[in-house]
Every structure is written in C-alpha cells, then in structure tokens.
C-alpha cells in the first residue's frame, strides 16, 4: 500500500510513521510523512512531486482536524481544507470519527449548511472505520442535529456501506436503526440501511405500518423471505420494488479518487497507451470500449470440472493483472495466458508485445471479432443513439490508432469498419485534416498506382455522400436532429471545399509521381466530374476548378478519352458559372468570386488556344500556364508549334486525324494534315463527334462562337 512504501523510504527513524492504530484522539501525531530520498528509488521519481503536494496537504489537514476536535481558530479555512482534501484524494480513515461527531452532535450550531458541507465531504480514500459509524449512530440517537442532517447521514451510510471495514458492531445496533423507522423522513433510508444489514439471524417482531410504501415493502419482503413465520401479511408477488437511489454526491467522487489513486501510485503502473478511464455514464451491458485485463477464469473452470479434464494444462499461469513491466514479461513469457477478453490488450503494450510473439491464430480471431463488433456497435455516426458518446468513441479510435502504430501493422476489422462506415460518414464528427487528410496523404503518395486510384474513387464517393446528405437534410429546415451535430450550411461548404482542395493537391503530386498515367488521370477526372456540377446538381454554391497540375497534364496528354472527358467537364463548369450569373439577381443572391471567373477564363483561353485557334503557347495567361516566347519555342526545332496541339495535330487526336484522312482521301498515302481546313475542318469535327467525342462536341459548341473557326472563344464576363 501507499503508506507502507513511504515508510520504507523514510530516512529519519526519529519521526516514525504512525499507524492508524494509535489512539484516535491523539490527532496531532496521527500522520507524519517520512522524508523521501529522490536518488534512492527511480520509481518514486515520477510521483515525487505528487507526494510533496500530498504531504503539504496532509500537513494542512492536520491542524484542520485539530480544529474540529478542539473548536479553535479560523473556521471557514479549515472547512475548506477538509473539503478540498476530500475531493482530491479522499479522507483517511482517521478523519471520520471527528468529522462525523462534529456534524451530528450539533456542535457547530444550528445552521445546517456547515454540517451539510461536512457530511458531503466525507469521501473516503480507503476504508471507513466502524467505530466512527457507531459513534455517529449514537449521536443520531441523541437527536442533536436536524432531521435533514440525519437523513443526509443515512444516505452517506448507504453509499459507503461497502467500505466500512467491519460490520459486527453495526449489526449489533440493528435495534437502534429499527427504532428510527418511526421517523417519517428517515424511514425510507433506514429501511435501506436495515436491508443492507439484515441477515437471517435478525429476528425482530414486525409491526404493521400504515400505508405500504415501497421501501417498507422491500424490507418486509426480505423479512418474509428470511423469517416467514414473523411476517403474516401477504405481499403482492410481482411488484418490482426499488430503493430510491440514495447515493448522492459521494459515489462519483469516490470513484474519481480511486482512479486518481491508481494513477498516482508510486508503484510503477504499466504504461497505458490510452486513458483507460471508465466513464461514469450508464453503459450497455454488451459493449465496453475499455476492458481491464483480467486472467482467464480457467482455474475456475478447472475446479468445477474436476481434475480429469485433459483439455487444460495444469501449468501455473502468471496472472495478467500483475504484468506490469517488460522484464516481467520476459521472465514469464512461457507462462502467460491472454486475458479472458482479448479486447483488453489494446491499452496494454506488454500484452501487445506478447501478441506479436504468439503464433496462435485464435488470439487474432478473438480480437478481430471483438473489435469488429465494438466498432460496429459504437460507431457514433452510423448508429443514431450513439451520438452522445462521441468523445468516448473518439478516445477509443485514438487508442486503436496507437495500438496499431505500436504493432506496426493494421488490424483488419479497422479497415472493414472504415470501408463500411466511411460512406455513411456525415463528415462532421471529426476534424478532417489531422485525422484523415494527413495520414491519408502519406499513405497515398507511397502506394501503388491502383491504390491511388481506389483512394480517389473513395474520395469521390465521400464527396457525393456529403452532397447528397446536404440535399436531403439541410433542405428540411424543421429537422432539428441534424443540427445537434452543430453543423451549418457554411460549415458543410467549407468541409467540401477542403476535400476538393485536398484531392487537387494529391492529384497534382500523384500525376508527377506516376508520370501522368492515363489510368490515374481517369480517376482524377471522375472526381472532377462530380465537382464541376456541384452548383447545378446539388444546389451548393461552390465551384472549384482543378489545379494547374491537373489541367495541363490532361490538356497536353496522349489519351483522347481523358481529353474528351475533360472537355465535357469544362463545358459543365461553364454551364454552372453561367447559371450562377443568371441567378445572381434572384433570391439566392450569392456570387462566385471574380477569381473563379478569372481562373475559368484563363483555362478556357489556354484550351481554345491549343485545341482550336492553333495558338498554343501564345495566349496562356495562367501563372502556371504554357505561355512561352517564340524565341524559346524556335529553339526546340519544332516547326509548327502553334498548331501542334489543335484537334488535328494533338497527340491524343492525331489518330483520329489519320483515320479521317484515310476515309476522306483514300488514295492519298501521304499524311497531309494541312488538307483538313475550311469545309474539311467541319467534316473532321463531325467525324470526331460521330466517333463518340461528345465532350469535345459540347465544349466546342458552347465555348467557341460559331461564326468562323478563327473566332475568339467565349469568355464569361463577371
């Protein structure tokens, strides 16, 4: 125990550590703290500061208790000391006698506030001595305090009942408690106390009381069970009888202190990967996020089944609860058994190490089943009822992450969970950037082409889900439940924009890494196909152009499918921008920024310059664009650079041009592309459309004014 360890390290034997067996009235020496040598034990180093604080507080508790014993000096200060010590660490057993007596004896006069405060601060840090309770009961008999205080005392007694060290004397007082049943106010609580105290031996004659209230029924039914001959009344057989929850403020405080004790103990605690702090809220019985490791009940099972079972070996197993240090793990590695619930290994690095060493498949299976079910059950965004437990689930996910980092490998149920639940994710439960984008980017850049493509596919679906969700939910303004997640429309717009920018960024880098691979470009364009229509299709005022790192590789790429698709996308961008401009004056009254229009116009210029007007490299005003001096271009040695990216000569289109030439001039074996001009140019266009280049068609028809094909492209003016 804590106290014993301090005694060991005590340097000066002259101030011996006083055990609580000393006379309780001698308060001035009831507790002295031994000096601790910091160099002596490394273990204590961590808790050194805590202990110093403890000793300071305990030294101040002493005079406070002194005061209550003798009634001198400043009152409020001492009361505050007692309260603060109680809340932080709980009171030692020695403190209860004096405090209880003070509160119940009416020493402090009439006002109940003080006595109430005293009673409420009676939070034990270990046990409650029976003697203090006995003397408290004797004070109760004298009735020096108000009935409210008496009731509060009884409630306290019920709460700490299990912490009372002995109960024989208390049971001897059975008759006294019985006497209190007559008091109207105290009756329910006395019944509860009696219920707790009652054993078969207690035989008391029972008198009928007026009105069978639930607490009396409870007590009487217990009597009827134990000593049926004494109870002559019939009780309703099927009533559910409760004792009102009388626990009051102490229960939570006791639990907190216990938890703190565990954390501050000088005995080295195993390093937990996450806070295993049990939350105080009510849990479903079938799901627990944090499970303490406990040994398998194998010996239990063996005992009941008899020794003839060969199924279980008779080796002694090292109990898992005692496993706290790495050396212990090494020493006992052949005598270790996994805990009865595999889920508890997640917070325990030692058990995780052990898991790494074991070849037993069933270990992983058990963990995976538990993990899969827990994730499914507790997911805060898939199951509506779990919305309240977001923080807890978030902590759990964090623990999972840490465990996986520790193991240097992923756990399969996590992937499945993400696979199933990400499509349902509303996107608001967690902050995207740190939790998803950063790790995902790392993974993305270092993975294969196909993985990159599937990530892009998933992100496209995520985007679509968000957009669909907002269309369904934010339209129904009366739906108050959705707003419980604290979302606003602009919040969603920001989140979506963030996603699109993220995808733009990773696409740019990925295209460089994969040398503008066609397949990758296809998936990127799929994403932008959703993006371009956000305004018209999903009614969200957002328009984000692809970055230059995507635009130019497409424009100058070798693949007609992607080029065609991109033309379609640019056509859709135009449609959205035009529609937004027209609606500017209607009710919606939002506008896309001039930057957006500018960017669009720049891109359009480049595209039309390349594809149509044979002005590649000339008119591109985009900062990352193709604009280059003629001098520089001449140095390349390419003669006709201006036409090199139009629909005839473009690397992606030249195949079509060749086929066209062969059809239009079947006898001509030279590839005379300059023949494609004037009327033939229009035929060529028709030919391309017939080949399925619908995107190109709509792009050209919308972006290029039809007068003659040397005309400027159609800008959208803000």
């Amino acid at each position: 125990s804590e106290k014993m360890l301090r005694k060991k390290n005590s340097k000066t034997p002259k101030e011996p550590f006083q055990h609580h067996q000393k006379s309780q009235s001698d308060l001035s020496v009831w507790l002295k703290v031994g000096r601790i040598d910091p160099e002596k034990s490394v273990q204590d180093h961590q808790s050194l500061n805590d202990q110093e604080n403890n000793s300071k507080q305990e030294n101040s508790l002493e005079p406070a208790l002194n005061y209550f014993a003798t009634g001198k000096s400043s009152f409020q200060r001492h009361l505050a000391t007692v309260e603060s010590v109680a809340l932080q660490r709980g009171l030692p057993p020695e403190a209860f006698n004096v405090l209880l007596s003070t509160a119940l004896s009416g020493k402090l006069g009439k006002p109940d506030t003080v006595n109430t405060r005293l009673l409420k601060s009676l939070i034990p840090n270990s046990v409650v001595p029976e003697t203090s309770v006995v003397s408290a009961v004797s004070w109760l008999c004298v009735s020096k305090c108000s009935s409210n205080i008496q009731v509060l005392f009884l409630r306290w007694l019920i709460t700490v009942f299990d912490l009372i060290d002995h109960k024989e004397d208390l049971r001897a007082l059975y008759g006294f408690f019985f006497f209190f049943l007559q008091e109207e106010k105290m009756c329910p609580y006395v019944c509860h106390v009696l219920y707790l105290l009652t054993r078969k031996e207690n035989g008391e004659s029972i008198q009928l009381y007026e009105g069978m209230r639930p607490h009396l029924q409870a007590l009487l039914s217990l009597y009827k069970l134990l000593r049926p001959e004494l109870v002559s009344i019939t009780l309703p057989a099927k009533t559910k009888i409760y004792f009102k929850n009388a626990e009051g403020p102490w229960k939570a405080a006791i639990r907190t202190i216990r938890q703190r004790k565990l954390e501050n103990s000088p005995v080295p605690q195993p390093l937990f990967l996450g806070t295993a702090r049990p939350r105080s809220r009510k849990r479903k019985w079938n799901a627990q996020l944090m499970i303490p490791a406990s040994s398998t009940n194998r010996s239990h099972l063996e005992g009941v089944m008899g020794k003839n079972t060969d199924l279980y070996s008779t080796d002694e197993y090292f109990p898992v609860e005692l496993l706290q240090t790495f050396p212990q793990l090494l020493q006992n590695i052949h005598h270790l058994e996994f805990p009865s619930r595999m889920g508890s290994v997640l917070t325990n690095p030692l058990l995780l190490h052990y898991m790494n060493c074991t070849k037993d498949e069933s270990v992983y299976l058990r963990l995976y089943y538990w993990l899969g079910q827990t994730l499914q059950e507790e997911c805060t965004w898939c199951v509506v009822e779990n919305g309240q437990n977001e923080e807890e689930f978030r902590d759990f996910l964090e623990i999972l992450c840490r465990a996986q980092c520790f193991l240097h490998e992923g756990l399969v149920p996590c992937e499945e969970f993400l696979y199933r639940s990400l499509p349902l994710w509303d996107g608001f439960s967690f902050e995207m950037k740190s939790y998803l984008y950063d790790p995902l980017a790392q993974l993305f850049f270092t993975s294969s082409l196909y993985f990159k493509c599937s990530v892009l596919e998933s992100l496209k679906r995520l985007l679509q889900n968000w957009l669909n969700w907002q269309m369904v939910h934010l339209d129904s303004a009366t739906d108050s439940q959705t707003h419980s997640l604290n979302t606003t429309f602009s919040g969603l717009v920001n989140t979506v924009a963030e996603l699109i920018h993220f995808v733009g960024m990773i696409s740019t880098v990925a295209l460089r890494l994969e040398s503008n691979h066609t397949f990758l470009l296809y998936f990127i364009l799929e994403f932008y196909e959703t993006v371009c229509d956000i305004y018209l299709k999903y009614n969200m005022p957002l328009l984000i152009m692809p970055p230059a790192g995507v635009f130019y590789p497409v424009l100058l790429g070798m693949d007609p499918v992607n080029l065609n698709q991109f033309c379609y996308i640019m056509y859709r961008y135009r449609a959205n921008l035009v529609a937004a401009k027209e609606n500017e004056h209607s009710e919606k009254q939002f506008r896309f920024s001039s930057e957006t229009y500018k960017e669009y116009n720049q891109y359009i210029t480049a595209m039309v310059g390349c594809l149509w007007t044979s002005n590649a490299f000339q008119k591109d005003t985009h900062p990352q664009g193709l604009q280059m001096d003629d001098e520089l271009l001449n140095k390349t040695g390419v003669k006709e650079f201006k036409t090199s990216f139009n629909i005839v000569y473009h690397p992606a289109m030249i195949g079509y041009a060749v086929q066209f030439l062969q059809q239009a001039w079947p006898d001509d074996t030279t590839f005379n592309f300059s023949l494609i001009k004037g009327k033939k140019w229009n035929w060529y266009l028709e030919y391309l459309y017939a080949k399925g280049l619908e995107g190109l068609k709509v792009f050209i028809e919308s972006s290029i004014s039809p007068q003659n094909h040397n005309e400027q492209c159609c800008f959208i003016y803000k």
Binding site: K224, L225, P228, A237, S340, Y369, Q373, T374
Partner: protein
C-alpha cells in the same frame, strides 16, 4: 428435421429478443453442467451487488444449461444450447415448484459461412434468442462474454429482410383458419408517430404470391418486390397512402412474426428451422 414436442413447447408462442453472437472461444458442450454451476454462482454474486430488480422475492436462481441436438440445419452446425433460469422460491423446497423466469438459447442453422473461417477452438452459434427480463439477459450475456470472449449485438431486422419474410411466409403451407397476415408500417417525421397496420386475408396473400413466384422453392428479390408492390398499390387504391414511403416494422404471418427491433415469435413448429436459417444468415452478415 423434426423437433420433438418438448423442444417446440419451449420455443413456440414466446417473444424472443434476437442477438448475433461472435464465435465462442473454448466452449465445450461436454461441460454444460460445470458452466451451469459457474453461471449460477455468477448470478448470485451479481444479485449481492444489488442489481436485483425484484427485491426479496427471489434469492435463489437455478441455472440449467442443456443441448438441443435437433435444433440445427446441417451436420456441420453445432447443436443448439439452451440456458434456463428458474426460480426456486424459498417457501417451498419442492423441485416441481420451480418457475421458469428466463430462457435463452444459442443456435446455428446452416451457418457454414461463419464456421468455415474459424479454427476448432471456436464454437459457432451466431444466433441468440432471449425471453425474459432484460436484467437476466444482461447478466447471462455478460457472463458468456467474459468467459468465452464473445460479443453480443442486438440483431435488428431491416425492412428489406422483413419483406422477404413476408413473401416467404406467405408461401408456406398452413392449416385452415390460419391467422391473417399483418404488416405494420411506421410513418416517420410526423409530430405524432403513426403506425399503420395492414391486415391481409391469408388466402388472398397466398393467391397473390402464387402468381408472382415463378419457381416453387426459389425466391428472387424481384419476386419479393413485385409482391410488396402489389400489396402497396392495393392499399393505395383504397386509402391513397403510399406505403412504400413508410418503414415496414413488423410482419406477422401464421408461421411466425418478426419485428424490426429484433424480436421474433415462432408460431408453427414445422417452420422453426426455416425461420432460424434466415436469422442465422442475418446474424452472420452482422458478424462478418
């Protein structure tokens, strides 16, 4: 398979809450008596902690765990395991006066999809059905979770699965004077919740199903959809309400009744195994 009358008496006409259970680790059907002893000690300990719902009446719970060897689909399935909690009131010591207060059973009917993926250390009984107070379910379930490292998860039945059940059960042969088929729909997003109950004469339902089903013994999703659409349009003709926009929450037929919260009631002994087969499939999809 034919179930004996004792088993069917235990199962029929009771409301069972449905759970899916992950495989039990190191569970052996040879040690059921030992498990019963341990469970009974556990329950007694839990009662001491003051978790009792009913006070004073019962302090003596007797636990019986037995195997139901006929309750399975194929030979690969594990035999079902039945857990029963009875009350022995202190007043009378006679064994015949034990009152059954809670029963729960694990079973697997054609659960090969699950059992083929696990080693011999695991016992696959993915469906758990409980009848009785929730407090007992939680105690027994917690004990199983603790000892065999499994996970219980409430098994909800989606409206899609419910409509399958409606179609399937309509096609089942039942005796004369069978009860009407009833579908209950709940209407969401109303200030006061509204439940619509649609009762169909079993003969009519069967006639409709016979015209829809092409191959006897086989059911496709399209057939189920057509069947339901017919029912919906009939309702719409009379009441101008589109049932397809509501949520199907309960299906009752002569064979069995099922609720979307995961509650089932068996009404005909010869179809218990079939219903369990469907439930096993649902449970396995929730586990994997």
């Amino acid at each position: 398979r034919n179930l004996d009358s004792e088993t069917t008496a235990l199962l029929l006409r009771k409301q069972w809450a449905l759970y899916s259970v992950t495989p039990l680790y190191k569970f052996s059907s040879a040690h059921l008596k030992a498990y019963a002893k341990l469970l009974s000690a556990y329950i007694a300990a839990e009662k001491q902690k003051g978790l009792a719902v009913e006070v004073g009446v019962e302090l003596d719970i007797k636990v019986a765990i037995s195997s139901l060897p006929d309750l399975k689909g194929s030979d690969q399935d594990e035999a079902a395991i039945l857990v029963q909690l009875s009350l022995r009131s202190q007043a009378s010591q006679k064994k015949s006066e034990q009152k059954l207060v809670w029963s729960g059973w694990f079973c697997s009917v054609c659960g090969d999809d699950l059992s083929k993926n696990v080693s011999a250390d695991f016992t696959c009984l993915p469906v758990f059905l409980a009848n009785g107070a929730e407090s007992y379910t939680s105690i027994v379930g917690s004990w199983f979770q603790e000892i065999f490292d499994c996970c219980f998860h409430r098994l909800a039945i989606s409206p899609l699965s419910l409509s399958w059940m409606a179609a399937m059960w309509t096609g089942c042969k039942v005796e004369e004077n069978a009860s009407a088929m009833e579908l209950v729909f709940s209407v969401p997003n109303l200030p006061q919740s509204l439940d619509i109950s649609y009762a169909i004469h079993p003969e009519d339902a069967k006639a409709l199903w016979n015209t829809v089903q092409k191959t006897p013994g086989e059911i496709t999703q399209e057939e189920v959809d057509v069947f339901m659409d017919c029912l919906y349009s009939h309702f719409h003709r009379h009441f101008k309400i589109h049932l397809s926009a509501t949520k199907l929450v309960k299906v009752s037929a002569a064979v069995a009744s099922a609720h979307c919260d995961g509650i089932i009631k068996f009404l005909q002994s010869q179809y218990i195994i079939e219903v369990l087969m469907l439930l096993t499939e649902l449970a396995i999809s929730q586990i994997q």
